[in-house]
């Protein structure tokens, strides 16, 4: 059976790649490939460790930070669910494999085999990203280290999803069958909570102005017996990556391999009738859940919430698309959770900020502000209620009596609006968190100005960012993942990071002109009208951003109208 699975996986991958390569007949795709290769060359060949990062690249710090990051990712998966994509089978796989003479173990092995394609691809990306000077002794050993790490994590996610779905489906019965896994999990989570509680004061007292101050405090906290035990398996997984010599690498590899094998046994060991039934149900459930989360199929029978506003039959026709995309966002469970968490967070941090010991509020404040800033970069990949979702329905979009430019504006506005609202909410939470802090630098009036500036500029920045993301989908539909979902999990982190870096570079280029001209105007006028120079400078920046957006929308509108669904392989 494994040979059949291998054939399916290999032929599917081969044909998919061949199909994507065929698009290289188009000059547009050739240009993208050349740019991508140039970028990789620059990222791999040209990168050298700078003196400032050399100390941070110390294997001890890398091992610590890596182990903590892995611990965090794994804990997050257990607490908030890890089913997403892990158990997702395609409709064709369900049609052919589920009714076929394939055991549960066979299905799992197929899934493991299938996930290897993504893992190998990302292992390659990480091998290129992580420079030779800092990580491992040779690219070949590095790719093995990364493959072991990502495969172990992938197995762990699969095993965790079995435990969670087994519990969800079978309650007490599932509890009995998963008692060992749950006992380990419970112990780890309690130890983790206790360790975090112990480490918080130490971290709060750390000198956060330098990376070393914080790292030192982190190192001290992690050196305690319990955190050492908690992070030990993750250190074992990271260690081959930071080994300085071939001998050290060999010594570090075998414990990592043992962990991998243990995970494999954990995942495939059971094939009793109970497991057979549980797996079948969990696979179906997980698939439906994956589809719902990916925004493809809302839960049947779920109560439909009323839209934020009723759509008037009069007005800008493309406004219907904007409305439709906003309705879709408000009806996803994830967004509701975010809104509720934000509202509760705002109330709590505001109250805490007036406490004499406002550390907790400030911690939450820094967290909110950091997330708001990070969302400028990762948000456009995360919020996808736009053309990236609707291009799968290109046939319908093309039959609407709308100009391509109108459709692009409506689609891009929807996701830009959602992202901006989330970011501004986080910034307001951050602002409220420090409201009671009179001694903070920068002072309150500067913080207020920054918040006002965010309200003025963020919508435009996000609109441009979303144009870039939607433009990529429109120009390269065969190479960009369409639909609401995207590769997720630690295994796919490499390719997501690569996409993010390309996006940041393009956004930076787009913002260069408005920032340069606006900055120049500010410097020129400051001598005449002092701080008031910010107002005409801001107007200039916004004007140039609007001009850039108009040019890009007009161009992409034309691309939309010329895109042939069949030739592009969509619709």
């Amino acid at each position: 059976m494994i040979r059949t699975f291998g054939y399916l996986a290999w032929r599917s991958a081969h044909n998919r790649i061949a199909r994507q390569v065929r698009h290289l007949r188009s000059p547009r795709y050739v240009a993208a490939l050349l740019l991508g290769l140039a970028y990789l060359w620059f990222a791999v060949i040209a990168q050298r460790p700078t003196p400032a990062t050399a100390d941070l690249a110390d294997p001890r710090w890398l091992e610590l930070v890596g182990a903590l990051a892995l611990l965090g990712a794994v804990a997050w998966g257990w607490i908030f669910g890890v089913e997403r994509r892990v158990l997702a089978f395609s409709p064709a796989e369900v049609t052919f494999l589920f009714p076929g003479p394939v055991s549960r173990r066979g299905l799992i092995q197929f899934k493991l085999l299938r996930s290897q394609l993504l893992i190998l691809f990302n292992a390659l990306i990480w091998t290129l990203i992580l420079s030779r000077e800092r990580f491992g002794v040779s690219p070949w050993l590095r790719v093995v280290s990364i493959w072991v790490l990502l495969t172990t994590l992938s197995f762990h996610r699969l095993g965790a999803s079995f435990v969670r779905t087994s519990l969800a489906e079978h309650g007490r019965l599932g509890l009995r069958h998963r008692v060992v896994s749950l006992a380990v999990l419970g112990t780890v989570l309690i130890a983790l909570t206790w360790s975090i509680g112990e480490a918080l004061p130490r971290l709060a007292d750390a000198d956060a102005r330098t990376p070393f101050g914080f790292l030192s405090a982190l190192g001290e906290a992690a050196a305690q017996p319990l955190p050492t035990a908690l992070t030990y398996p993750f250190r074992l997984m990271i260690r081959p990556l930071t080994a300085p010599s071939v001998a050290a690498w060999l010594q570090a590899l075998w414990p990592a391999l043992v962990l991998l094998v243990l995970h494999y046994i954990w995942v495939v060991r059971s094939d009793t009738a109970f497991e057979e039934a549980a797996a079948a149900v969990s696979l179906q459930r997980a698939q439906a859940r994956t589809e719902r989360r990916a925004g493809t199929t809302p839960r049947a029978g779920a109560r439909v919430t009323a839209p934020l506003f009723r759509l008037s039959p009069r007005g800008w026709p493309a406004g219907a698309i904007l409305w439709k995309n906003l309705v879709a966002v408000t009806r996803t469970q994830r967004l509701r959770n975010v809104v509720i968490a934000m509202a509760a967070g705002a109330v709590i941090v505001t109250a805490l900020s007036f406490e004499p010991e406002g550390t907790l509020a400030e911690l939450a404040g820094w967290f909110a502000v950091t997330w708001a800033a990070a969302l400028t970069v990762i948000g456009p990949q995360w919020v996808r209620n736009d053309l990236r979702g609707d291009l799968l329905k290109l046939d319908m979009l093309r039959s609407y009596p709308l100009r391509g430019g109108s459709i692009v504006i409506a689609e891009v506005s929807a996701s830009a609006l959602v992202l901006t609202v989330i970011q501004l909410s986080l910034l307001v939470i951050g602002y409220l968190a420090f409201l009671g802090n009179q001694s903070m630098d920068p002072p309150l009036h500067t913080r207020t100005l920054v918040l006002v500036a965010a309200f003025v500029f963020l919508p435009g920045i996000n609109f441009l960012g979303m144009i870039i993301q939607n433009g990529a989908a429109l120009l390269y539909p065969a190479w960009v993942r369409l639909g609401s979902g995207r590769p997720a999990g630690v295994e796919a982190l490499g390719q997501n990071m690569l996409m993010m870096v390309v996006f940041v570079a393009m956004l930076a280029v787009t913002l260069l002109l408005p920032v340069a001209i606006g900055g120049g105007a500010f410097l020129l006028l400051r001598g005449v009208v002092n701080g008031w120079a910010a107002i005409p400078a801001a107007i200039l920046v916004l004007g140039i951003m609007a001009f850039e957006a108009a040019v890009l929308v007009d161009w992409l509108g034309g691309v939309f109208e010329r895109t042939d669904p069949a030739a592009a392989g969509i619709g």
């Binding site: 039959p313 406004g319 039959s399 009596p401 069949a566």
Partner: protein
Amino acid sequence: MPVIEVEGLQKLYGDFPAVQGLSFQVGPGEVLGLVGPNGAGKTTTIRSIAGIIIPSAGTIRIAGHDLAQDPVRAKAALAFIPDEPHLFEYLTVEEHLRFVGRLYGVTDVSQRIPGLLEEMDLTEKRGSLPGELSRGMKQKLAIACGLLHEPQALLLDEPLTGLDPVGIRRMKATIMRRAAAGAAVMLSSHLLHLVEEICTRLLVLQRGRVVALGTTAEIMAGRSDLGARSLEDVFLDLIGQDEGAGL
């Protein structure tokens, strides 16, 4: 004056001609059936007229508007209903209709919705999401969306796919009612008994070319050598697949 005018339509995929030299017209009240074997170019033709595919050559006019020069006004006069209903997962049945109403500027959408839902037997499902609808109901909703703005040209690609017998009967009645009200209807189908029953004219395609165009009677009269057995026999003969016709 014809509502749908197609002249010299050609669509190439690389060097492969999916459709070539296609010219025909559909007037108000007419129902033109597009038939042909798989890969004959039916869907390419209907999608080109709907403005989804850009033709390689030729002109298409809808209600007097050139589709290439004035696509917005041309598309505003037509409705395209695909064989596979493409619905938005997070819009309810009624919201789909409101959405389409705004797109096409239907100001009295609230007045039109109840009648359409009744016609499509969807009144009880007006608050449901597509995930809660059967395949047939989804198809009915897609049809309701197409009919909402009372298009002058109605393009249907395999309109009966997924419908139950009651749905099929209703659908046929709907198509004929729209044609009687003055719409130009064009539908593609493999169901020869359907096209024979409701179409006023037939367009038979084979390898992207027209092999017959006319009323059923005209087409059958054109092959009187076959002894006028049935439309199916004539169709199979026209496309060169009549080996089993006498069985």
